[in-house]
Amino acid sequence: MSDAPQPPPLPSALARTLSIARREFAGYFATPLAPVFLVMFVALSALLAFQAGGLFTRGSADMRPFFQWQPWLALFFMPALGMRLWADERRSGSLELLMTLPVTTADMVIGKFLAAWAFACVSLVLTFPLWATVAWLGDPDHGVIIAGYIATALLFGTLLSICACLSACTRNAVVAFVLSVAVCFLLLMTGYGLVQDFFARWAPPSIVEAVASMSSLVHFHALERGVLDARDLLYPASVILGMLAINGILLHWKAAR
């Protein structure tokens, strides 16, 4: 017994999840992805808010022009963050390493998702100079701005959970990106007037409402306006949990074959 090797006791689920999240988060900074992503995201956010949204010219001290463009930026930026989560692991073979460590599927799925979401939130935090500018120039309602940031963070999480799930379907990150953009686009569009008009023409109001309630955009705008409704918080939470569960099932299913 004396010279028998002894591995350490099992860490807690939280410790395992955080260890995976930490590696994943650091992974963004190990490649040029992090600086490119952060600079592009902040620059495009500002450009769209000022140029297309008329943040200064509309004569109102708020950040709506900024938040209104966020879903459309997220449509491309979130798939860019999520595309490699599982596809790269599968392609490089590191998934074999990860899955043979003493971690559960939930540890891996939640850890990786949290890392991607945390990174997305960092990019959002870096837009604070915009908030500072608006606060300096006028007297905005800070509560509404905070609600806008929360709405955007939840939207990012929702879309990322979908991207993570799609990334688990393939070993090709580009395929994962294209699939993610397509699915996220559909999810956003169901809340758009164009799609709702299409349904309104023939479907009963209950269906139109159901379709709209499936859209991230509808819940995003409700929250972003500063109207707090439990349903608008429940929606992203349930999509995220549902997608993470499917992500886990996909990993299991793929491991069995």
């Binding site: 028998a4 490089s92 003493p102």
Partner: protein, 257 residues
């Protein structure tokens, strides 16, 4: 008592990929102090078997017990006792060697100063000092392999599974790895797959040869040697390997050389 208990116990392992039956009922029992050489032609099912032993693939039938813990029902307890070097030594290529090893140590349950200590020990054990600060993608094949071995040994596991640990190493490195395996094998149960038959003679206490997913030989290297006709003086193991694996290949009109 636990000294003699089988550390690896696999019974009736089967795995099918589509129409191909990759593994057709393999049994393996490895006790503490045994180094099992796992041999077979390419595509015989060695890697698939090792992936089932380490929990990466779920077998279609059969069971795996690691130090008494069933891999299917208690995966974490089983996996925490295994050190696994997968085929091609997969790792996170954009990480630095020591960060990668620290990630594995942390995920396996080490904390604080212990992580550093474990990394230092693993690095010293496989002589990775010159490149511990280097990114894994920039390493030579030999150092990449050593990083994989260091990762597999970081938690002092009682069970070690290595898929071709000396593949791509130069003769000096091969010698070092063999010495390491011999030393580790005294207090552990080790399975290593290899194409190099001298390796079996040099380090293994037992040899198992599989062909087309089924065991065709299980015994000591001496017993293997005893199967060779006396008149053959050189490459005796090559001869018996060819005889054992070609018999069935020819019968099935497989056509490998």
């Amino acid at each position: 008592m636990s000294e003699t208990r089988a550390l690896i116990e696999a019974k009736g392992l089967r795995k099918r990929f589509g129409t191909i039956e990759a593994v057709r009922g393999i049994d393996l029992t490895v006790e503490r102090g045994q180094v099992l050489g796992f041999l077979g032609p390419n595509g015989a099912g060695k890697s698939t078997t090792m992936r089932m032993l380490t929990g990466y693939l779920v077998p279609d039938a059969g069971s795996v017990r690691i130090d008494g813990h069933d891999l299917a029902t208690h995966p974490l307890e089983a996996k925490r006792r295994i050190g696994y070097l997968a085929e091609g030594a997969p790792a996170y290529m954009d990480m630095r060697v020591e960060d990668f090893l620290a990630f594995v140590a942390r995920t396996r349950g080490y904390r604080g100063a212990e992580v550093r200590e474990r990394v230092d020990r693993a690095v010293a054990r496989v002589h990775l000092e010159p490149c511990r600060g280097q990114r894994i993608e920039t390493l030579s094949k030999g150092y990449k392999r050593r990083t994989g071995i260091a990762q597999a040994l970081i938690h002092d596991p009682p069970v070690i599974v290595m898929d071709e640990p000396t593949d791509g190493l130069d003769p000096n490195q091969k010698f070092e790895v063999r010495q390491l395996v011999r030393e580790l094998g005294r207090t552990r149960a080790i399975i290593l797959s290899t194409h190099i038959l001298e390796e079996v003679e040099a380090v293994c206490t037992r040899a198992v040869i599989i062909n087309k997913g089924a065991t065709v030989f299980d015994g000591t290297p001496k017993e293997l040697d005893a199967q060779v006709p006396k008149n053959i003086e050189t490459n005796r193991l090559d001869h018996v390997f060819r005889t054992l694996t070609a018999r069935q290949t020819k019968a099935a009109k497989g056509g490998s050389r």
